[in-house]
């Protein structure tokens, strides 16, 4: 036990993350943390680029006698948009799967304890205490919560699958209360959001 851990945990549970869990959580966080991380937004930006390129075609024809250059740009933007919408999320997911495969420590069963001021993660090799203030954001969906911004871990994944419905409520309420405006709950398609 780390020296300054003496109070009782407000919530405690165990979890084991798989490569798929990690990859899904990493891609979820990357897409939700910034506006330009979303495939749809990237594709729309590329579509706008393609439209602007296409709109310069008559000007190019009048001034230079050819439409090849704007049409080439339009095709490049369209191809980039398709890639960013369909291909890139899959590539990113596969990359995160491979990343997890190189990190055996992350696949160990971990005891997670929520304390008022900090989070404690314990597995058979490590014991890590992180103050909530060291994270910059918390994203939650129906499967898990992803904490990011801690310098020593790219992300911290907290899975909800082993929690009872009552504990899930406590889990969400605790994170929402702790992270305040840095907390966001992403509902499945069709649902709304709350939090900052």
């Amino acid at each position: 036990m780390l020296p300054n851990v003496s109070e009782t945990a407000e919530l405690a549970f165990c979890q084991t993350a798989s490569a798929e869990d990690y990859a899904r959580a990493a891609v979820f966080a990357e897409q939700e943390l910034t506006l330009t991380g979303k495939p749809f937004v990237r594709a729309v930006l590329c579509a706008a680029g393609a439209a602007i390129s296409a709109s310069t075609a008559p000007l190019s024809l009048r001034e230079y006698g050819t439409m090849w250059i704007p049409l080439l740009f339009m095709a490049a933007f369209a191809a980039a948009g398709l890639w960013l919408f369909f291909g890139e999320p899959q590539r990113r997911y596969r990359e995160r799967l491979a990343l997890f495969a190189t990190a055996p420590v992350f696949s160990l069963g971990t005891a997670v304890s929520f304390y008022r001021d900090f989070l404690l993660l314990t597995n058979e090799c490590e014991e890590l205490l992180v103050y909530w203030t060291e994270f910059s954001s918390c994203l939650e969906n129906d499967e898990c919560a992803v904490l990011s911004g801690f310098a020593e871990r790219r992300l911290v994944l907290l899975k909800k699958e082993t929690l009872s419905p009552a504990d899930r409520e406590r889990f969400s309420a605790f994170l929402e209360n702790t992270f305040a405006s840095s907390y966001r709950r992403i509902r499945p398609k069709g649902g709304g959001r709350h939090g900052g």
Binding site: L2, T102, A103, P104, C125, E126, L128, A151, R153, R154
Partner: protein, 185 residues
Amino acid sequence: MADKPITANFIVTREDYADSRAAAGKLATPPSELMLIRVSGAALLLCCFLFLLFLGSDLQRFLLDALLGILGLFLLGWGRMFPLWLRARAGNDYDENKRLVEACSFSADEKGISIERPRYRAQLPYAMLAGAYEDKKVFLFSLGAGASCFLPKRCLSGEEITRIRAYLTSALQKKFQQEGPQSNG
């Protein structure tokens, strides 16, 4: 009889932190990627000279050619500049974040490493490491997915450095990378 574990106690200084971040950056950059950047830089520089010789020499072309040359030089020197940039950024992080000023106890033996800091404790068998890296200043132990810990060489004697190197070479084999020829201490 097993060797006595190597132990080191240190406080993470600004230099240590910068060294560790530079080492982590070098470990994360595959040599093939670095080679590709260097070859691209050399190709751009070659193009710059060829254009200078065979194309006309009006001011606009000369300026474009000079830009090409500067870009080529930048790419050629990227391998040396990248760690400097990482060090500068780590130095700023350290200055802004006093949480990084921590006392650390480290020990290593033939089975693995153990680390103790105020808010982190680990006993890691070598099989749990994603890789390790050694440069002139630090040993870096990667846990994978961006997580790592490090041991500054300033805390070790020449004999201890040789022993840690031997442990890592034997346990991690190809996952242990070294930067250039290493000196002890």
